[in-house]
């Protein structure tokens, strides 16, 4: 899949564009059927992606509460966000902590576990299942279970930490620990990342390792010089997908804390959601402005990662 994504972009380069009038009648017929088959998606993309994308940009310059028509206010919302909304910065900071922490956890732990499972362990299927199961649990149920796990008085996590001499932590009452609690909870989904890495590792031909061994490479060198370079397409895709996902963390925070204590867990999308759907009257225009800023941030991150990928992502069999 990772390679498929990469090749998709390179496929576009250097292709001659065909003109409709140049096509033979048979090719025209084929093209018509092609358009017919993709029509549902094309209509969908206009209705559910392009329209809202543009509309939310326009709405971000208006005051809008759904009931009354939008009222133009220019860049007032953006001014307010950058100069007079302390929760904007706070929620951005909390989100940055979550993005950095949870992506690191998922990539490092996921990759580490995949490496362990790729050493011809016994009961591979069993371990994989055990690691993967928590990530299929619906997020609402998971949030309720973790509220109990993270309970300061009787929770499973404090009981576990007790074995290491750590006294009970009041996870959601202490602003210093609340975000950490969500990071610990994010280990739940490590199994998904691990499964993807494991599939990638299993695709590396054994001969590469044999050749490296003959050249006298030790385990660390084989990991660093063979495994990791060959895995860069998968790492790249996972970093990208997980960053985009983590920036939008919402449901568990909404259910478990609602941003408490003292906005220590107020994430960006929660802030945006509250403006649109919790506060009265709804501030849909302000919320749209927040959404567009989030879009720009995610876009910038994506662009930097995609641009940097040429330096560190290697595709097998690529000419350059």
């Amino acid at each position: 899949m990772a390679t498929a994504f990469g090749s998709q972009f390179s496929a576009l380069r250097g292709r001659r564009r065909e003109r409709w009038s140049d096509l033979s009648p048979m090719r025209k017929r084929e093209a018509k059927f092609g358009f017919l088959f993709i029509a549902p998606w094309f209509i969908g993309v206009l209705l559910f992606a392009l329209f809202p994308f543009i509309a939310s940009f326009v709405l971000s310059f208006t005051k809008y509460n759904i009931v009354a028509p939008p009222e133009w206010v220019g860049i007032e919302h953006y001014e307010h966000i950058f100069t007079d909304d302390p929760l904007f910065l706070k929620s951005l900071k909390n989100t940055a902590v979550y993005v950095g922490g949870s992506v690191a956890i998922r990539i490092l732990l996921g990759f580490g576990l995949a490496l362990l499972l790729n050493t011809k362990v016994r009961f591979l299927g069993l371990w994989r299942t055990l690691f993967y199961v928590p990530s299929v649990v619906p997020i609402v149920a998971l949030s309720i279970v973790w509220l109990y796990v993270l309970n300061a008085r009787a929770g499973l996590l404090n009981w576990f930490l007790g074995f290491f001499g750590i006294s009970r932590i009041r996870w959601f009452a202490d602003p210093d620990f609340a975000m950490l609690a969500f990071l610990i909870m994010s280990t739940t989904w490590v199994g998904v990342t691990m499964v993807i890495f494991l599939a990638g590792l299993q695709g590396i031909p054994e001969e590469y390792y044999d050749a490296a061994k003959i050249d006298g490479a030790n385990m660390a060198q084989r990991l660093w010089r063979v495994t990791i370079p060959l895995m860069t397409p998968t790492i790249y895709l996972n970093v990208l997908i997980n960053i985009i996902g983590a920036f939008q963390v919402f449901t568990q925070v909404f259910i478990m804390t609602g941003g408490a204590p003292r906005d220590a867990t107020r994430t960006y999308v929660l802030h945006l959601f509250d403006h649109a759907f919790q506060y009265l009257p709804p501030q849909m225009g302000y919320s749209s402005a927040l959404a567009w800023i989030l879009f720009m941030i995610i876009f910038a991150f994506t662009a930097v990662i995609v641009a940097s990928s040429q330096r560190w992502v290697f595709y097998q069999g690529a000419e350059d």
Partner: protein, 294 residues
């Protein structure tokens, strides 16, 4: 003399190697067992606590086995939660969405995989780009549009978009279609089959593995969805399982009634776990192709 010492040195390094190997294996399985416990313990604890009496769920240090098995927790939890209604609503949304996803995504994927037309690659690139569009940007205009056409408090906002294809499922399906040999299609064409006949009678049966993966992802998506039902369904009679569970646990007086909360959670998790164990292979395949969650 020197040969003997060399041999004993080799022997020593061999036993050393064996020792490090054994220690390495013990370490490896130790880590695997520990991590398994880390992942499974919360779920196991949820299950056990759902049968415990109330006095036991607040105990520290934690206990694992119910002192008295109390299945009443389940019936008590259901008193405050129209499980039947929410289950039915979730099933309706899930099944219709499933058909919408499978139908539209196979069609579109086939179009991208098997026909040449102008701007095809550009359009496909746009399709991939929509994967990166944050839902927050689309949320408000889409909500306002549904409000304007009177679709709030109906299932339509949760079902209808699935009939217009999902970029990610289309991607999976297209990859699969690209792998099917062209000869099969040519044979059908020579036999005079129409494009749609080829699609429904040749491609769809061959694409079963990809369709199962899409079906599972779609099922998971609808069953687990929280934000959609939260904003579109205000009428309690239309609530889904996810909303029902959330509303139940946030009832006044539910704070700390962990045994009932866990019982309610088990009820929501069970169907997913059953599907997971039935279709484990496809779940793993789906994850392989995705990694889009969370």
């Amino acid at each position: 003399m020197s040969a003997i010492s060399a041999r004993s040195a080799k022997l020593r390094s061999d036993t050393l190697n064996r020792a490090t190997q054994i220690i390495g294996r013990i370490l490896l399985y130790g880590i695997l067992v520990f991590m398994s416990l880390w992942f499974i313990a919360p779920l196991f604890w949820m299950f056990m606590s759902s049968f415990m009496p109330l006095e036991q769920v607040g105990i520290f240090p934690v206990e694992w086995i119910p002192r008295v098995w109390q299945p009443e927790n389940y019936t008590d939890a259901l008193k405050f939660w129209k499980f039947g209604t929410t289950f039915r609503n979730t099933m309706i949304i899930t099944i219709f969405s499933l058909f919408g996803d499978i139908g539209s995504c196979t069609l579109v994927a086939y179009g991208f995989a098997r026909f040449r037309f102008p701007f095809r690659d550009t359009l496909f690139l746009i399709l991939l780009a929509t994967l990166m569009l944050p839902f927050a940007v689309r949320l408000i205009p889409v909500y306002a549009a549904y409000d304007a056409i009177g679709w709030i408090d109906t299932f339509y906002p949760l079902i209808v978009p699935n009939f217009f294809g999902n970029a990610f499922y289309i991607f999976i399906c297209r990859q699969f279609f690209l792998g099917i040999p062209q000869d099969l299609l040519d044979a059908a064409k020579i036999d005079g089959a129409s494009e749609f006949r080829i699609f429904t009678q040749v491609m769809i049966p061959l694409a079963k593995p990809a369709i199962v993966v899409i079906a599972i992802l779609s099922f998971q998506n609808s069953w687990n969805d929280f934000l959609g039902p939260l904003i579109y369904l205000k009428d309690p009679d239309l609530h889904t399982l996810a909303i029902g569970l959330y509303k139940f646990t946030s009832l006044p007086g539910q704070g700390g009634i962990y045994n009932q909360q866990m019982a309610a959670s088990v009820l929501m998790v069970m169907p997913v776990l059953i599907v997971f164990f039935l279709f484990q292979k496809q779940f793993i395949q789906g994850a392989n192709l995705s990694g889009m969650k969370g």
